[in-house]
Amino acid sequence: MISAQLPILQVLLPLLAAPLCAILRGRALPHALSVGTVLLSLLVTVGLLIRVESTGTISYAIGGWPPPIGIEYRVDQLSVIVLLIIQGVAAAVLVGGGASIVREIEATRAPLFYALFLLNLTGLTGMVLTGDLFNLFVFLEISSLSTYVLVALGTDRRALLAAYQYLVIGTVGATFYVIGVGLLYMMTGTLNMADLADRVAGVEESTTIRTAFAFMIIGIGVKLGMMPVHFWLPNAYARAPSVVSAFLAATSTKVAVYIMLRVVFEIFGVPMFLATHLSEIIIGLGILAMVVASVTAIFQDDVKRLLAYSSLAQIGYILFAFGLATEPGVTASVLHLFNHGLMKGALFLALAAVALRAGRTRRTDLDGLGQAMPLTMLGFTLAGLSLIGVPGTVGFISKWYLLEAAFDRDGFIIAAIILGSSLLAILYVWPLVERAYFRKRDPALPPVEEAPLPMLIGIWLLVGANLLFGVWPDLATGLAERSALLLLGGAR
């Protein structure tokens, strides 16, 4: 039955559509094909959600080879919530981004752009679904290589440098990850995650396992923009084409966090996480990111770069909660992973609309846009409020869970820092809103008009999700809570 094949369909759909896009000519056909593909993929994700909610974890053996010999795809609540954010944002970004792509990508490159976008989607989806560590590496490289090219497609020539920087550091990160996998394989003779979880138990005290752990954490840390190895991220996000920024900011670091969660809690387990003091280190790095990145964001002139730094800070929240390694902590981490994807997707997409109409995305380019692009800027403002954590938005729900997680470990100081960082968020979000609504656009510049309808639909899909999940958070919180149970319950 088709419903039994959903896991593989999720990966195959974009994978097969990508080369098709590459051989098509013009703009309209590849666009239509990729929009169709992402919408279909989103449907598949919803199908997976329904199945996981009704029957629990799905295990899918590729080609009928049973795990651990064959490659296994596993879908549980955690995979589903991450898939939802990836596919949801991909759909919103492609549906809404048409006009922005026309403006920022040359016609001859458009089919390749779509092909790469779909490949990237394939990579991210595969990383979430696979239960095999080496297969994960392959998907990681599929998504990374396509990301480098996508970033390099940016209109600014500095995008090339950003892509190059990202390539070098990204490759080092991925190679670190492979070293870790190799060491693990050496000790256990398996690459299947579930299998590994059992076999690591006997040998977890050995230096080899510890070394593997260290290599993997650093490797993944690079990919998720952990504070000391984050420096590729602001450049990449700021200089990539607007649509790409929107997609990457909302998804790629999230998937890296997902891998981190899986590796740490499912394979190595909480006791090792605590014994190696990694818990404290990650909490520390998270707090560092919350404060330093937020402060840096305040002083940025390019709004895209500002949002990129804000992303680093938000990743700090996710890392901190993850580092607590408690049930409320992991719940908050997963929840914020989802919610932050919604916020940043909306903000970057609105910014893509600004880039489309106003030409650039410096602070001054926002002047007076509140009147000129009322719907876009209203969306931007609401998503910004969500970032601050105003009630009625997903940001508030996230903040609440993060605080409860902090108090659960008697972390009054940490709770205060979290809120302090929210105040910093006001400092970098509010001036933008103020410019949009209370300044007049420089009369010497050409007048701007509202973003095209598809773009508004894309923006408001994401903004709507911000509000919807802010008022009825049950779906996200439920999934996050059960994910935490699965992750920590499976741990020894």
Binding site: G392, I397, L403, E404, A415, L419, W472, P473
Partner: protein, 488 residues
Amino acid sequence: MASADILLAAFCMPFVTAVLVALTGRWAALRDTLSVLGALTTFGLVIALATEWEDKILIGRLLAEFLPGLSLKFMLEPLGLLFALIASGLWVFAALFAIGYLRGNKEHDQTRFTVLFSIAIGATLGIAFAGNLLTLFVFYEVLTLSTFPLVTHSGSEKAMRAGRVYLGILMGTSIGFLFLAMAWTYALSGTLDFIKGGILSEEAGPGLTLVLFLLYMFGIGKAALMPFHRWLPAAMVAPTPVSALLHAVAVVKAGVFTVIKVIVYIFGWERLAGVPGTEIIVYVAGFTIGTASVIALRQNNLKARLAYSTISQLSYIVMAAALLTPLALLGAALHLAAHAVSKITLFFAAGSIYTAAHKTEIDELDGIGRRMPWTMTAFGIASLSMIGLPPTAGFVSKWAILGGAFTAQSWFAIGVLVLSTLLNAAYFLPIVHRAFFRPLSAEAKAHPHGEAPLLIVVALTGTALLTLALFFLPGEVEELAAGLVTSR
């Protein structure tokens, strides 16, 4: 209609009004009629609620739970009813006043103004009806956000700066302290419901309780406790109807209302009385009363003087609540009502003077009482109430607070009350004196003007009469206020 339905209807009415006003923005007369009708309907519904209500608590559950035992919900209790009555009742007057003011001064964007004004009132009712701290917090933030564009209404650079201060302090304290305290309380107690006697679990020792108490008191920035008071004078750049209803009644009263709510329903005042160190807030409030009064004395701008007077009067309420005795809490609740009706009258008068004579400074007011007798008489009555002299509402509440201070044996509080009464007299009476007993200046003679437009005069006369009425007929209000401390 069941009382739960009336409550929901009363809560929704301002938002309905906002929508209707937005839709009919093109036809000014229709729009303004609708806004007044909306205010009247809301007030009517709240009154209906008051008559239906017999010490029974209604609970409406809105939306889903997002943490165990935590959802948005409404619950009516005496203080909330009192606050709702004040806010919705004065909205009727403010709506009338606003029409006169906006037309008289030919303000721009009148529709946007009226829409946001209605939303702010809706948020205020949400605060009044809140069944738990979370609901209260949500509407507290809605109130901040909806009043921000009203503060920056003029769009000038000065208004922008003021708006930044306004938003910065209110959002900063609420997110930095209030939210923190709230999340902490939930982490400790597993609930945020308002329950008489408090919800804080016994685990929280005196030290922790004190920390939480301070976080709450400073986190409720709308109560304008020093040093978080600067937003209120800043907000005075807003058009006068905003200053009158929002920054003398809705917003600031939401602040002190939250203070009382937290003391009575989150901590439980009996419990707090046993915690050493809570008197810090009495001292801070006392300091705020004194300092704000002295600053008020030095202001020449009428609205600025009123703003500082508001800061000091708010601290009366905070101080009374922090004395933690039944009589003082009663006084706090009474003063909430008394200050509301008096201060709105004073602001109406300031707006009236601005509309008719285009004067904003106090030293320009010589002899104006003869040209604007209604306005200045109302101003005089309200001034007496501010000072706390009979026959006005201020006397009743101040008397109760003083009584509370005596029961609490707080000589500091008594001293502050006496001193501030003198200061109040020192900064209000000269204005009245100028208006009635000084001759008109030569410059004023050259620019003849009469009384303000009829709608404005009606509004300020009405609120002045209310100030008197609360002295002669305080029964209902006292009963509601007493419900706060007696029935368990």
